[in-house]
């Protein structure tokens, strides 16, 4: 059996790379060069001490009474036999003699210059040295350009090496349950103070055998506590995650510090109150306080395990809701917030993560319906944990956006609008009078608020706004959104800037109704509405068929670059032609169809169909059929540009002298597939009862 030996440099500012190198390729022996130890700072000496403890498999220092240290806090000893060589500088002589069959030199630790020197001297002194570069999760064989995947160190090892803390976790997700949670996860939404929040679905909680209290506050507390386990479970199912835990407490290995922490935490009034509720609990609690007063070994040899465990649970100086380690060696530190939270909560998780490891990524998992990054910390909605690691990477790679921007988003200002406030509108709802010009309404629901709140609302409910990024479907409200979209979401918005609509102008409650001498409409720039009647006709038909509001219609006009200046005249002309009137309703009933206008034609056609025209279209002779076909096709081409009712179509055909009996059937059978349209019952469009040709 061959044996291999590793040479590496101690990485003075962080012992983790050195530990990763030692554990990387099943070496039998290893030499760690500690270069210029005399010049080490206290921190570097402490790092060296940590590496030595890691090699021995435990962070436990002297001074812990017997039975207090939990053996679960330890890890396996390093497998190679490691020797530390203290050298003033790197020279060819440092290598000495080795009996190993293969020698490896890890070049990860130390400065660039040190690594280059080590490489040169190894080439000079060793027989065919293999140069490696040990990264978390992989070893690079530098001379061959090959990568060998390796296991990363355990979460507790990484935490200890990087921070010096011992990890005491409360919850480790069971793979089977985590998988079930991932598969069954469902959420509902709840509106509180006009803000939508995500909530765990009751059926989902039952499906994973979670007790769901009937009492609302108790349920909220349960769900809040469950969020930590849920986060940890969802992270654990990701292929990129090698270990995930929740309810993590960090203990300073110094017994004195840990004991003082436990004394402090166990004597907190709320803790005391909680502990004395049941006699059994009280006994354990009282004993634990006694043990803390006198930790001599005689007191706690036997029968005090429950009290010692209680003490261990309170020895920490820092805690985190969930912690995961990725196969790349990075840590994900999570703070969970089920209710609202403050910026300080975001900063806290960032600070904890900075303290834990330079390779940690702070995340705040919350109950919003969207994820963001305001303070250079990923704020991830728990609804997106199914794709958590990808989302975290995406959010963490973003440049932070100024916090002010997210609170009060910049909105395009129309110079005319700001120069001249809209006229008062007699049909406004009473509430609008109180709020005057500062109130804005969601185009899709009853949400009303000031502009910045409306922006927030539209972001949380992107389906309520008509302009979206074609890739991620997020609402695009202003040019700021366009500019920051790529930074925020990793892709440019798939929308030309001209496609944006002014939120302020289109959602203002005091918007004037479409009157002819409408002042507000006069500010519009773009094509003259009177020159764009076919396009407006399409928009009217579309709004009728889909239940679109006037605000949506105006946005459509904006997108088509049609000015609102002569819109009233245009709508009047079209109304006369098609048979509708515009009222001042805010909802989808702003178009009133006048069935009388249509019914005349319809009745005439029907009458013609039934009484006068006995000639079946199918019975026509061939030359007439050819002419009729040509006419139908040209009419369809025309109607494609400007949608009209079936009765109008039949009337047109009749004017050309063709019989219309069976026309509907023939249109559907022969032409609908070629021209891609359908004839829809009028009830689907509006209450006039007519039939319409609708282009798909």
């Amino acid at each position: 059996m061959t044996n291999s030996h590793l040479y590496c440099i101690f990485n003075a500012n962080d012992p983790t790379p050195t530990a990763i190198a030692i554990r990387s390729l099943n070496f039998k022996t290893a030499t760690v060069f500690v270069v210029n130890h005399k010049a080490f700072t206290d921190k570097q000496n402490s790092n060296l001490d940590r590496l030595k403890k890691w090699i021995n498999g435990s962070a436990k220092p002297e001074g812990w009474p017997e039975g207090w240290w939990n053996p679960d806090w330890d890890w396996a000893e390093a497998s190679p036999q490691v020797s530390m060589e203290y050298v003033d500088e790197l020279t060819p002589e440092i290598f000495g003699n080795t009996t190993a069959d293969h020698t490896f030199v890890d070049l990860k630790g130390g400065t660039k210059a040190m690594s280059i020197d080590l490489m040169d001297y190894a080439n000079e002194r060793l027989d065919n040295p293999q140069f490696i570069f040990s990264n978390p999760g992989e070893s690079l064989l530098l001379s061959k350009g090959v990568v060998l995947p390796r296991d990363v160190l355990g979460l507790n090892e990484i935490v200890f090496l990087a921070s010096g803390y011992v990890m005491n976790e409360e919850y480790v997700p069971e793979p089977r349950i985590a998988e079930k949670i991932n598969l069954e996860f469902k959420f509902t939404t709840e509106i509180k103070r006009k803000t939508k929040k995500a909530r765990f679905d009751g059926n989902f909680l039952k499906s994973i055998k979670r007790y769901v209290p009937q009492n609302q506050p108790a349920r909220a507390l349960m769900e809040q506590a469950f969020l930590e386990e849920f986060t940890s479970a969802m992270l654990s199912v990701s292929e990129e995650v090698s270990q995930s835990v929740a309810g993590v407490r960090f203990i300073d290995p110094s017994f004195q510090i840990s004991k003082e922490s436990a004394e402090f935490l166990l004597n907190l009034p709320y803790k005391k109150k909680k502990m004395v509720t049941k006699p059994k609990k009280k006994k354990i609690y009282d004993t634990s306080l006694e043990l803390l007063k006198d930790s001599t070994p005689a007191l706690h040899n036997h029968g005090y395990e429950a009290s010692l465990e209680l003490i261990r649970q309170h020895m920490h100086i820092m805690e985190i809701d969930a912690l995961a380690i990725l196969t790349s060696g990075e840590l994900i530190g999570v703070e969970c917030k089920y209710s609202s939270y403050q910026p300080d909560d975001v900063h806290r998780i960032r600070a904890i993560c900075q303290r834990l490891s330079p390779r940690s990524i702070p995340v705040l998992v919350n109950s919003k319906l969207y994820s963001t990054n305001v303070y250079n910390v990923a704020e991830l909605s728990f609804t997106e944990l199914g794709n958590g690691i990808k989302m975290i990477r995406q959010l963490s790679s973003q440049a932070p956006q100024g916090p002010q921007e997210t609170i009060s988003l910049p909105v395009e200002q129309s110079p005319t609008l700001s120069a001249k406030p809209p006229q008062s509108n007699p049909v406004r709802r009473p509430k609008a009078h109180r709020w005057t010009k500062n109130l804005y309404k969601c185009p899709e629901c009853d949400f009303e608020s000031r502009l910045n709140k409306l922006n927030e609302h539209l972001r949380e409910n992107p389906t309520h706004w008509s302009v979206h990024c074609g890739i991620c479907q997020r609402a695009l409200l202003n040019r700021g959104d366009l500019a920051s979209h790529e930074i925020s979401y990793g892709h440019p918005p798939s929308l030309p800037e001209s496609g944006l609509i002014n939120v302020q102008a289109t959602t203002r409650i005091e918007r004037p109704t479409p009157q002819i001498d409408d002042l507000k409409n006069k500010q519009g720039k773009g094509r003259n509405a009177l020159h764009c009647l076919p396009l407006i006709e399409i928009a009217i038909v579309s709004a009728s068929s889909t239940g679109g509001t006037f605000a949506m219609f105006k946005r459509a006009m904006s997108r088509l670059q049609i000015s609102m200046e002569h819109m009233d005249e245009a709508l009047t002309l079209l109304g006369e032609k098609l048979g509708f009137k515009i009222n001042d309703k805010q909802n989808s009933h702003w178009i009133e169809w006048d069935s009388g206008v249509e019914s005349e034609d319809d009745a005439e056609v029907e009458k013609y169909n039934i009484e006068e025209d006995h000639t079946n279209l199918n019975q026509m002779d061939s030359p007439l059929k050819g002419k009729r076909d040509e006419t139908i096709r040209s009419l369809l081409e025309l109607y494609k540009k400007s949608p009209r009712s079936f009765s109008e179509f039949a009337g047109e055909l009749k004017k050309y002298g063709f019989p219309v009996k069976g026309l509907r059937k023939i249109l559907v059978k022969k032409y609908s597939q070629i021209y891609n349209f359908e004839i829809v019952e009028g009830s689907n469009l509006y209450a006039s009862g007519s039939q319409w040709i609708i282009w798909k």
């Binding site: 490489m119 990568v147 440049a399």
Partner: protein, 243 residues
């Protein structure tokens, strides 16, 4: 006469080492290799090169992109290809610049050309190399505007830094310090705001954590909350008001 025909260099987050290299005049050709993570830096660098007026002897600078830093096997193969294409050059006419870029890529480069002369950057802004037993040094003169332009930033007529979003930073002082390191100093009259930290963070992402000094000088105490958001490489100095 320049000592080298071609010098190879990896690009890093910091722009100063490569700028110093191409301004040193030690070679007629430079090949700068960017990983795909640094694509944006490469775009700025190429734009800068296009606009640059060199005078009589303009060096030939070629920027090449390789794969991701995380995909070592690909990047190794690509670097090897780059070296193999120039294998006809004599060992001594191609130098390798070892001051910039990720260590694993620099060492790969070294492994591929172990005999080639090595070039370093020493403080203050001096290119140092050894060739056939002779060592020589070449001090380099760089202007702040030059460094900023290589990352797509500019100063306006009043000397204020213009960020990419067209925001002008009038209270930002940019200079080369006594060790000729790039130094950004933002002076804040009141408490530094989260936005101040964000600006410095973005600059450090552009020029590299170690590629410049990032200082915020404030007359007022910074709030704990704001200071927590500042990474360790952003120095915050409290300056007492002069009476």
């Amino acid at each position: 006469m320049t000592p080298f025909d071609t010098v190879f260099s990896m690009a890093g987050h910091s722009t100063v080492p490569v700028l110093a290299l191409i301004h040193s005049g030690i070679s007629t050709r430079y090949i700068i290799i960017f990983t795909e993570e640094l694509q944006e830096n490469m775009n700025h660098f190429e734009s800068y090169l296009e606009q640059k007026e060199w005078g009589d002897e303009a060096p030939h600078v070629k920027c090449l992109t390789i794969g991701s830093i995380g995909d070592y096997e690909t990047t190794y193969a690509q670097i090897k290809e780059i070296f193999d294409e120039r294998s006809s050059l004599s060992v001594y006419s191609k130098g390798i610049f070892l001051q910039n870029g990720a260590k694993q890529l620099i060492i790969s480069m070294l492994d591929m050309a172990p005999e080639s002369p090595r070039i370093f950057l020493r403080e203050p802004l001096t290119i140092h190399c050894s060739l056939k037993g002779n060592e020589f040094e070449k001090p380099v003169d760089l202007k702040v505007e030059e460094i900023l332009r290589s990352r797509g930033l500019n100063l306006d007529d009043s000397g204020a830094l213009v960020l990419q979003n067209e925001v002008r930073m009038k209270n930002m002082n940019i200079k080369l310090d006594e060790r000729l390191r790039l130094e950004f100093t933002l002076t804040v009259q009141d408490k530094p705001s989260p936005e101040d930290i964000i600006v410095m963070t973005q600059l450090s992402e552009k020029f590299g954590r170690n590629g410049a000094q990032y200082n915020i000088v404030t007359r007022d105490r910074i709030s704990k909350r704001t200071s927590r958001t500042a990474a360790a490489h952003i120095n915050i100095f409290h300056q007492e008001e002069e009476e």
